[in-house]
C-alpha cells in the first residue's frame, strides 16, 4: 500500500455566447450634467464583476477614467433589453453593446467640445484623464466636465448613445447539423498532478498548471479571480460534487453544505494561472468569455492523472475514493 503520484493533461475549447436563440443585448449610455457617464443595462452581475468590466469598457471607449462611469443594471423599468447573464455572454455581448453606445455618446461629446473650441470634432482627442484636446495642440483643451455643462445648459444636447449586439439566430440544419452556435472560442490546457492513496482511494490534487487563452484580459485581476475560482470548481467537480452520489438511484443526496461535498481551504491545490491573449474579431477589445471554460479542463486532467498514478480508469464522475477502491480491487482480481 502506498501513496502514488501521477499527472494528466487535458486541452479544451469553449464557445463564447450562444446564438441558437438569437440572444441580443442592448445598452444605453448618457452623461450627467457634470460629465459622469451612466451605463444602463438589464444584464445581471452574478458576483463575477460584470459592472466593473462594463465601466472599464465604457471608460476606455469614451476616453475617461473608469471612476467617472456608473453602471445602472437590472431594472426593467429603466434598462434596455438583455437576454441575460449566461453562456459566457456577459463580457462579450453586453461589452459590445456598451462600446456601441459609448461611441455614439463620445461623438456627441466631441461635437459639443468642437463647438466650444471652434474646431472640427475630428481634430479632437481625449487624454483618458477627463479632458478633450486639439490634436497636435494640446494646450487648446476643455474638460469633459465643462463640455457636459455646455451640452446640458447652453447647447441643448444630450450626450448619449444607444448600443445593441445582435447576430442573426442560427438554425441547425436538420440532416447535417450545420450551425453557427457561437461567434468565438476561448481555449485552455491544464496539467494536474495528483497523489492517490491506493489504500483509502483518496486523491489529493497537488498542483494544477492552467493556461487559458481568453482573447483579452480586460481587467487582469478580475480574470485571475475568475480563473482561480473556476479551476477550484473543476477540481471539485472531478473529485467531490454530486446531488445524487448513486445516480440513477435517487435515494441519497446532500441537503446542506455538511452533506454536499466540496473541497475546503485545506484541499486547495497549488494553482498556477497563465493567460494568453489572441483577440477575437468580434469581441469587445478582443475579449472572449472566460467565465465557463475555466472550470472544464481540470476535470479530465485530474481523471487522467489518477490513471497515471494507479492505473485504473474512472469514467464516472465524481471520482470518489469508493470508485477508485472498487476499480483497484477489480484490477487486482483481474
Amino acid at each position: 500500500m502506498a501513496i502514488r503520484r501521477g499527472r494528466g493533461v487535458a486541452a479544451i475549447n469553449y464557445p463564447t455566447g450562444m446564438n441558437l436563440g438569437g440572444d441580443p443585448t442592448q445598452a444605453l449610455v448618457h452623461s450627467t450634467p457634470t460629465g459622469n457617464f451612466m451605463v444602463t443595462l438589464s444584464s445581471v452581475d452574478l458576483g463575477q464583476g460584470m459592472k466593473q468590466i462594463m465601466a472599464q469598457i465604457c471608460a476606455e471607449t469614451i476616453g475617461v477614467p473608469t471612476d467617472r462611469v456608473v453602471i445602472d443594471t437590472a431594472d426593467t423599468d429603466t434598462g434596455p433589453h438583455c437576454m441575460g447573464t449566461f453562456a459566457s455572454r456577459g463580457t462579450h455581448r453586453a461589452g459590445n453593446a456598451v462600446i456601441q453606445a459609448a461611441k455614439e455618446a463620445r461623438q456627441v461629446m466631441l461635437e459639443v467640445a468642437a463647438e466650444e473650441l471652434e474646431v472640427n470634432a475630428s481634430d479632437l482627442e481625449t487624454d483618458g484623464q477627463g479632458n478633450i484636446l486639439v490634436k497636435g495642440a494640446p494646450q487648446r483643451s476643455i474638460s469633459i466636465f465643462d463640455v457636459a455643462l455646455s451640452a446640458h445648459f447652453k447647447r441643448g444636447r444630450s450626450i448619449s448613445g444607444r448600443g445593441m449586439f445582435l447576430i442573426p439566430r442560427s438554425y441547425p440544419e436538420k440532416e447535417t447539423g450545420a450551425m453557427k452556435p457561437s461567434t468565438c472560442y476561448a481555449h485552455a490546457c491544464t496539467v494536474a498532478e495528483v497523489e492517490v492513496d491506493d489504500e483509502t482511494g483518496e486523491v489529493t490534487v497537488l498542483n494544477v498548471k492552467n493556461v487559458f487563452e481568453i482573447g483579452r484580459a480586460l481587467n487582469p485581476k478580475m480574470v485571475e479571480q475568475q480563473l482561480v475560482g473556476g479551476s477550484w470548481m473543476g477540481i471539485s467537480h472531478a473529485l467531490y460534487e454530486t446531488t445524487e452520489p448513486y445516480y440513477p438511484n435517487r435515494d441519497h443526496g446532500g441537503t446542506d453544505f455538511n452533506q454536499y461535498l466540496m473541497p475546503g481551504p485545506g484541499d486547495l491545490a497549488e494553482t498556477e494561472i497563465i493567460v494568453l491573449e489572441r483577440p477575437s474579431a468580434d469581441g469587445p477589445f478582443g475579449a472572449k468569455g472566460p467565465g465557463e471554460m475555466c472550470a472544464n479542463p481540470q476535470i479530465p486532467a485530474v481523471a487522467n492523472a489518477v490513471f497515471d498514478a494507479v492505473g485504473v480508469r474512472i469514467d464516472t464522475l465524481p471520482i470518489t475514493p469508493e470508485r477508485i477502491l472498487r476499480a483497484l480491487k477489480a484490477q487486482a482480481a483481474g
Binding site: G8, V9, I12, Y14, P15, G21, S42, V44, D45, L46, G47, K51, Q52, I57, P65, A74, D75, C82, M83, F86, R169, P172, G177, A178, M179, Y185, H187, E213, G215, R216, L218, P220, G230, E241, T243, E244, Y247, P248, N249, R250, G253, Y260, E272, I273, I274, L276, E277, R278, P279, S280, F285, E292, A295, N296, A303, N304, R313, D315, T316, L317
Partner: protein
Amino acid sequence: MELRKDYFADVRKDGLNEIGQPRPRLDSPGHVTGKTAYFADRNFPGMLHLKMVRSPHHHARIRSIDTSEAEKHPGVVRVLTARDVPHNVYTILILIQIGPEDETVLADGKVRWKGEAVVAVLAETERAALEAAAKVRVDYEVLPAVFDMEEALKPGAPVVNEYHGQNYYLYDSGECRKVRFGDVEAGFAQADHILEQTYQSSPIEHAPTETTGCVVAPEGNDRFTCYTNTQAMFFTLDNASIILQMPGSKLHFVGGTVGGGFGGKVDVIVEPIAILAAKLTGRPVSFIYSREEEMQISSPRAAEKVVIKDGVMKDGRIVARKVIGYTDAGAYSRHSPYGAQKGAAHYPGPYTIPNVWIDTYCVYTNRTPSSAMRGFGVTIGDFALEVQMDKLARLIGMDPFEFRFINAYRDGDMKAHRQPTEGAALIECMQETSRAANWPVAEKYMAMSSYRKGA
C-alpha cells in the same frame, strides 16, 4: 497569474488606458463589508412568506388535495393551487419558439418528480407557512417511475411527461440533434485502431452563496415590483407575463447584484408564483429557497452519458469520431433541449477530424428537472473527450500531449458543424502548458502555430 504577452503580440493592440488595467472592483468594498444589498434585504410592512407543499413521490397521480386544515392554521392568509394560476402549463424556452409547454407552475393532476411544487401556502411568518404546509393533505396514487436514461428510452417505459408523449425531446431532426460530417464508417474502415468507451456523470449543484428567491411588492397601481436574483431579467419578466396572463407593463423587475448563479438562476420558478400571490393577497410576498430546496429542488447540472467511438491511425491522426450524448433532463425541459443541442456542436472537441457522426438526446426521467450550469452542454463532454484522448494516445503508444498537437484544430480547419476555425489558440495553450508543467514535447510541436497548417 502571469500574462504571457509574447504570444499573439502581432495581432493585439496593448497600451490602452482602462482596458488591461487591474482596477479594483467598484462593488467589492460593499461585498467584503457586508453592506451590499441583495434582494432578500428588502423587507416590506405586511410581507407574507410563501412556502411550497412538495411531492414526496417521484411519479404519482393526484387524486385530491385538501387544504382546509392549512387554511385554518393561525397566520395563514391564502393557499394557492393549480386552479389559481392563469396559464399553469408553461415552458421557459417558448420565448424562442422551443416547445411544447410541458411544466406546471403548481402540479395539476400529476407529479413527475420528488419535490415538485403542488400547493403554495402564504402566511404572516415563515414558521406559520411551514406549519400550515404540513397540514395540506394530498391523496396520491403512486405510479411507476423511471430514473435511468436507457430504461426511459426503451419501448414500454413509463411516460414521464405526457406533453412530449415520449421520453425524449423531439427535435426537427428527429429524436436527437444530429451532426454529420464526412463519412464516419469509411473513416473507421481505414483506422488502425478503434476504441469505444462510455462516460457517465451525475447531477451537480450550483451551490451559490445566495439561494434562489424573490420579494414582490404591489406598487398600488396594478403594477408589481419583483426584486429577484434571476440571471435573466426580461426572460423572467416575459415568462411571468405569459404564466400570469398579465401585460408586461404591469411587471417591474429589479435585480442587479446576485450572490452567485453559475446558471442556477436562469429558470423562471419563483417569480411567477410570488407575483401571483402578491396579486391575489394585495400584500408583499417573499419566496426564498431554503438551502435544502436549493440543493434538491432547484435545477442541477444534468447527468450525462457520453459514448465515444474513435478510429485512430498509428501515426496519431484521429480519422473518425462517433459520439452519442444523452442529457438527463429530469421531468421537464427547462433549458435542457438547448444544452443537448449545444453539446452536438461541441462534441468533436478542439480537434480536426475528417469524419464525424454525432447524435445528442435530451431524455426525460422522473427526477429534479436539470437546466443550465456553468459549461452547459460542454463540461461533461470535455471530460469524456479528454479522457478518451488520453486512452487513444496510450493505445497507440504516444505521449498524450503530443497526440493532442497532431489533432489540434488550427485556423481554416473545417469543424464538424461546418464552421471554419477562426482565432484558434489551442496549440499555443498546449505549448505554454508544456513549458509550465515541465512536460516536454518534441521540438516540431513547439514550432507549430494556430495561424495555419504547416506554419
